[in-house]
Amino acid sequence: MLAILVIGLLALLVVFLENTGIAILTPKGIIAEKQKQLLLDATWLMLIVVVPALFLTFFYAWKYRESNEKATHAPDWDQNIVIEAIWWGVPFIIVIVLSIFTWRACYDLDPFLPIHSESKPVKIQVVALQWRWLFIYPEEKIATINWVQFPEKRPLDFEITADAPMNSFWIPQLGGQIYAMAGMRSELHLMADETGTFRGSSANLSGSGFSNMWFTAVSSSEHDFESWASLIRSKAQPLNMDNYHKIAEPNDETRPVYYSLEDERLFEKILMQYMPKERL
């Protein structure tokens, strides 16, 4: 009875998933693509141990059930060095293989590692606020709230900090996250493979407005990106350290807002607020 229910639910799940899409398994960026591959490779390796373990559990429980008089009963058999060697040894070897994968992947996919590409990277500075995300483009001289747009197929160099409790900067379809911490500067390097609109969020509890901390990430063509940036630069209200303090106050407003950047060193100044005095 239980089996039927489980299978039924799994079937429902498959149907559901076909129609909704799973962000991490449908990557739109090269980092997320590599991470997905790693996830799947590791899964297959693990299944080498897990499938026999689960199968044997039920097989043995069934075969050696009390009512089965025909099965051998060896009540005192409790040792066999060969079998022990197998189930200590095989998993250990799998761990060694996985370790090699892990070691390589940790270096390959280090968030601080820039992406090799012929195209020039786009520098985007990110500040986690309460409870919104501020994106600063020092080269394009604009700033946005809860909306980060960038050209496809160009490396994105994110520099991340916070003016709030610890947050985590995450765009699942493009790649994994990294913590956003006040007084610290994290880096994340992503690149979108195609155009599209993706959902980003914070992945670390940062106070009562935490659920508001999601944002829209848009990958557009080079041309669309340029025109978007110049439109904002020409039309939007200016942002500098003075009116920055206003937007850094705890706020429920999640709608995107756009600014032209008056102070190229705004990000550094926000960071410096938390630096120990002797560094100045």
Partner: protein, 650 residues
Amino acid sequence: MFGRLTLDAFKHDAIEMGANYSMIFAVLLAIGLLTYFRVWGRFWREWVISLDPKKIGLMYIFVSFIMLFKGLFDAGMMRAQQAFSVGASHGYLTSDHFQQVFTAHGTTMIFFVGMGILFGVVNLIMPMQIGARDVAFPFLNSLSFYLFVVGAFLVNLSLLVGEFSAAGWVAYPPLSGLQYNPGVGVDYWIWSVQIAGIGSLLSGVNFLVTIFKMRCPGMTLMRMPVFVWASLGAMILVVFAFPILTATLAMLTLDRLIGTHFFTLTGGGNPMMYINLIWAWGHPEVYILILPAFGIFSEVVPIFSRKRLFGYASMVWAIIAIVFLSFVVWLHHFFTMGAGASVNAFFGIMTMLIAVPTGAKIFNWLFTMYEGRVRFETPLLWFLGFVIVFVTGGMTGVMMSIAPVDFQVHNSLYLIAHFHSMVIGGVVFGFFCGFSYWFPKFSGFKLDERLGRYAYYCWMLGFMLAFMPLYVLGLMGATRRLDHYDAETGWQPLFLVALSGIVFIIIGMSFQILQLLVSFRDRKKNADLTGDAWNGRTLEWATPSPPPFYNWPVTPEVYGRDAFWAMKERKTQKPLQYAPIHMPKDTAMGLYIALFAFCVGFGLIWYMFWLAIVGVVGILACLIIRLADHDTTYYVSVKEIEKIEAARLK
């Protein structure tokens, strides 16, 4: 005089008031029943002041059950909120309330259910399994229990007076610091965990000394039941890990109370230091919880396979390996904090390594069933459920130990599904397994089998429904701890499925409560008259059900593993020569010290510093009085022993 305590602290919304009225009603009901049946005297004499580890163990489990109920209720509230708080609707809970609920849920489940059932079972079973009569320090045992109760009480009190923390069960600064959370919530969290934590630390010392020093003659370390080895491993972890928690909580307290800069954003503080310290405790903590569960399975599987445990030595070495490894993996809780490739890789590899001894244990249990005679009674069902849930959960754990994969799933619902698989599949199922197995020993009758099965199936189904969708949700980009999300995410259907899961879990718990009532009603029919309800192998089954307070009239002597099995096979009974038994006198001092500890905690939470000082002075005074008391033990006379033994044989 009242510090920052004002009448405002008693103002709550309707849901909180509902909870408060229920709590108050429950307390009044308990007081009413105790008064109506006129058992206050008995309650005090036989339970409150008792130093009998069997009684203390039962009290731990009783309190844990109450906290489990509260924790499940919190879970239900969370699932209900997340199932309906989509798009324009913001559910029925405010963000702040929701955050208090999940913080209370985690804190309750880890500290006041997990640790409670752990210490409960170890108290009940370990002394008997090593042929002892008590633990090394019976007074300390009682004190540890009451410190645990005070911790649980503080969590519940926060519902009525003030508020609880909304910073998560691990309370990362700077969110948990004064700047972002100046209210009493985080302080309640700190003191409930700190006080209970000191109780745990004392128990760790207590049980460690007991296992090393109080084994009966002939019981060498390699002849101990695996449950005792598992408890030893857990206690070693307690003794090494809990001081780190004490120190870390103390530093957070100093930050909040006297303006130090350990974890603040100003003054040179370093929140990352807290994260390192808290997980240096936190990771061993989860192994503290799981090792005794493994121990329980090592007891149950052989009995329900009518076969010796496969690979005893291997099991012991696996425990030792797990104990060592659990101290070098803590960074996997924050791969995303940016430690760098080599550090992340090292900790990831260490984490994967733990899967090896853990997996070996699973295979050992499997091969215990192999060529055995497996009987599918409730305890074995819980074991089978554990294998499915724990192994799949463990698999996802190894996947997350690969840092770049973790970058995607860290703090998502994938993580939540993983650790609930481990804690529910491992710790909770292990406890239920042990509960149905050892219940006859302490009550004198077996539990109703049929209701036990129904409970198990409901829990299994409920667990699957509640947590399998969460793996998918995590992969869909759903972060943990969200009280609201947009409809475009497409997450709602899965949250609805998860909600149905908790409904089944609650039905499962209801079956368990019904099972207790029905089994009590049918106790004469299912009575365990021999003390050996399942044809057991270990020493606890050599006592009557329930055992006398001194466990053994004569301390047993042991000549190998599975000591009781050997006794049964030898069949010869040496005539027993009784001698007076040295037992500790019951005392209320543990309760009093804990009450003063409550004064310290409550006083510091509300800035009622005079109360905190009263608490400190009170604790010192009680300790001095206790130390000055030289009359803390007594002897049970031979006549008394003969009387008790004779009554049992009738």
